[in-house]
Amino acid sequence: MKEIKVLGSGCNSCRKTMEMIAAAAEEKNVKIVLEKVEDMQAIISYGVMSTPGIVVDGEVVHAGGLPSRKEIDLWLSQ
């Protein structure tokens, strides 16, 4: 079970990132808990400077811009 958080305050690419991760997990049959973090103080506590940020099991793996499908697959398979 992976815990994935998307950090971002409701911008377009944040929503798209959520969808991409959900779709990839379903396709690969990986169980995840997907959560969106919109609270600014919480986002900043992860130390990211650009959104969407992605946190997998407590570790920041991405910040700023849409992730690629290849990257998502990699995070899911680790």
Binding site: S9, C11, C14, M40, V48, M49, S50
Partner: protein, 354 residues
């Protein structure tokens, strides 16, 4: 058999950007140049094939559209691609470490310049702002960056260059940077640190040093591809609409339609009015430039139009609502006042001089 060969050669072709990024760039640049150089001839030939009266106004408009739309899109693609690759060097983290502890003045100039090359999206304004302040970048210098980043960017400059002309593009670059530098400097002088929200002031400081992540040429190339996909994918429709306005309406709306309202001889208050109209409008550079082009063509004065454009892009309600989470009202008011004042000055001076 031939199918297997075909798919094998296709996948070999797909490997080129990864294995030989420099070779790929060279070939792409050559191809780009050849196509770009032949656009005018191609458009003329294509128009000649169309079943319309070749002498008519319609044929002229069509040829303009067939030539101009691909031209602008090609220019935009090339610029966004190159900037995407350059952006992969200037990450927000690196920019922050360049600006941390800089003195006012030099720092403001650097911040405004870095604002051009650092990727920025207004939805990231707050985390970026905090990241800068946390690492010890002075407040005024942070604001110089925050003003320049959305206003002076490659999409705005390329579109201005392609649709309105290089002189206006250069003016916009110079004036946008000046406003960012001066506004940030003024805010720094006013010593407004007390008007950050309390939790922002009390945050732990962080070390601005960057972890160096090595990126190779192939990665940069992919960063460029991504930028093209994201940015050109988002704005191409605006560009086509903008060109269509240029191709169509120019001939039909009276040339001086806007002159009385926004022209040189309009009342002095047309500049502040243009700024006020611009603030609640929320648009990016790509959305506003077709409007700019149409306004200019219809006799609106350059200063008024530039002021309008800058206020739409640099001052927006949604961004202020987001910034309210980290700034107290008073600092937001000063920020808006100083930037609007800068834009106003630019607009008025322009209308006087030109």
């Amino acid at each position: 058999m031939s199918h297997a060969v075909q798919s094998a050669s296709l996948s070999a072709l797909k490997m080129v950007p990864d294995r030989y990024p420099r070779l790929f760039l060279l070939i792409a640049a050559l191809l780009w140049g050849v196509i770009y150089a032949n656009l005018a001839g191609g458009a003329a030939a294509l128009t000649a094939l169309l079943p319309v009266d070749q002498q008519s106004h319609l044929a002229g408009s069509l040829q303009f559209l067939i030539y101009e739309a691909p031209k602008v899109l090609m220019l935009l693609t090339a610029v966004v691609m190159v900037m995407g690759m350059i952006n992969s060097w200037f990450t927000p983290e690196r920019t922050r470490s360049l600006l941390a502890g800089k003195r006012e003045g030099v720092g403001n100039i650097m911040a405004a310049l870095l604002g051009i090359v650092t990727p920025f999206c207004s939805c990231s304004a707050v985390p970026l702002f905090i990241g800068f302040v946390q690492a010890g970048v002075p407040l005024g210098i942070t604001f110089s960056f925050l003003v320049a980043a959305p206003m002076v960017n490659e999409v705005a400059l390329t579109l201005l260059f392609a649709l309105v002309g290089w002189k206006v593009a250069l003016l916009y670059l110079g004036l946008g940077l000046s406003i960012a530098i001066v506004a940030g400097w003024v805010i720094g002088r006013l010593k407004m640190e007390a008007y950050l929200e309390d939790w922002v002031r009390d945050m732990a400081k962080v070390d601005p040093a960057v972890k160096t992540v090595s990126i190779n040429m192939a990665d940069r190339l992919h960063a460029g591809f991504n930028a093209v996909k994201e940015i050109v994918g988002r704005v191409w429709l605006y560009v086509v609409i903008g060109v269509a306005i240029g191709a169509g309406i120019h001939g039909y709306v009276p040339q001086d339609y806007m002159a009385g309202l926004m022209g040189k001889d309009a009342a002095w208050w047309s500049v502040p009015a243009a700024i006020l109209i611009g603030v609640p409008m929320y648009s990016n550079a790509a959305g506003i430039i077709p409007v700019v082009e149409a306004l200019l063509a219809k006799g609106a004065a350059l200063g008024t139009v530039l002021a309008f454009m800058m206020s739409v892009i640099a001052l927006s309600f949604p961004e202020m609502v987001i910034l309210r989470k980290v700034l107290k009202m008073r600092l937001i008011a000063v920020f808006v006042g100083v930037v609007a004042g800068g834009i106003l000055t630019v607009g008025l001076i322009f209308n006087l001089l030109l």
